[in-house]
Symmetry: C2
Subunit: 190 residues, 2 copies
DNA sequence: ACTAAATGTTGACGTTGTTTACATACGCTC
DNA sequence: GAGCGTATGTAAACAACGTCAACATTTAGT
């Protein structure tokens, strides 16, 4: 005997969406499918999200949160510092491998617009842990603003590219090689 | 007075597809839409492609060809060598910016499976110009196979990540800064 | 000229995102 | 507690999509 009102449909949908993203990609994920999997009618979703994009954005936000947490954990496990920086990089790539669809979604253009802490003029404080860790670690490596921006940019681009090349099957790396590629990163004068 | 037979529908569809990818993304691109835009019925497409995936794969292959050509041009324009390597990197990022949907498609997992020249054991000869340029330039920087693989990996990851971060709006860079980030790349001992 | 293959069309099926109109349940005030 | 407004869920419908099956027309080879 199901109740007419679900209780907390919004979170249930998000949880179901995350579960579905384990084997489907984000654009194979259907609104109706998500609704079906929590046992609710297709259009009930629209009481909690204006459209599919908003639903995906919510999933993306959750993905970003999980990524940040994984990175923070990894950095603390090695005692922070510059080893911690490398650890956040490896954690970034491993998170992508472990959650391909969620990772992709978190950084897709339709996702939440503000993973970025790298607007040209320094920008505002990043709103998520992943970006915050990147900014702080980069600042530790150089007090000069332009230099630390370059460091952040290169570090982010490196792990982001590596992650996606692996996800797309363009490149095949074992765990050790991931560490080696990521930690071989070194700030360069320009 | 249109003929019943089109003449060369396959190439016409590909051309139309490329044109459509200028403002739609690859999964917003519809088979029916492509067919419509060359003035042919929806199902005519199936005489030339087994399914939508095959159509997109053909577009991806063309994208990869264009990317390789742009990189080769760029490298030759600066006289090859290690400046040429940097030029291919910048060209990679600029191509992505100029053709976002096509670039994404070219490297999506469903695309042609072999942009990669970076299988673990050296792998086979790459089948496209982009990968070939990467391999050759990396080999010029180190005769040691493992080292040149690392160089290629890092270089590719850097430009790939940078390109996608820019496309996804996670990061905002002007032209000069792209050059600076890309050419600041330096091989590191690990 | 006849036939077989290649190519294009029509119509249909099941799926999707979304809208509109309607139904039910919760929480508030009296 | 009765009544009522709002939050929440449902049902039916629409257009668009990918794809299949059956049919039509054109081309090419004997």
């Amino acid at each position: 005997m199901r109740k007419y009102h679900h209780g907390d449909l919004r979170s249930a949908l998000i949880e179901a969406g995350l579960k579905l993203l384990a084997d489907r990609s984000a654009d194979e994920l259907g609104l109706r499918e998500a609704a079906r999997s929590v046992g609710v009618s297709a259009t009930a979703v629209y009481r909690h999200f204006p459209d599919k994009g908003a639903f995906l954005a919510a999933l993306a936000a959750e993905g970003l949160r999980q990524l940040g947490a994984a990175q923070r954990d990894a950095a603390e496990r090695v005692g922070g510092g510059s080893a911690g920086f490398a650890a956040t990089g490896a954690a970034y790539v491993r998170f992508a491998i472990a959650n391909p669809a969620l990772f992709r979604l978190a950084f897709s253009a339709s996702g939440v617009q503000d993973a970025s802490c790298l607007a040209p003029g320094g920008g505002e404080a990043p709103s998520n842990d992943a970006a915050l860790l990147l900014r702080d670690h980069s600042r530790n490596l150089s007090t000069d603003q332009a230099a630390s921006r370059q460091i952040a940019l290169r570090a982010w681009a490196l792990v982001h590219g590596l992650a996606l090349l692996i996800l797309d099957g363009q490149v095949v790396l074992d765990d050790a090689e991931i560490d080696s590629v990521v930690s071989g990163f070194a700030p360069v004068k320009n």
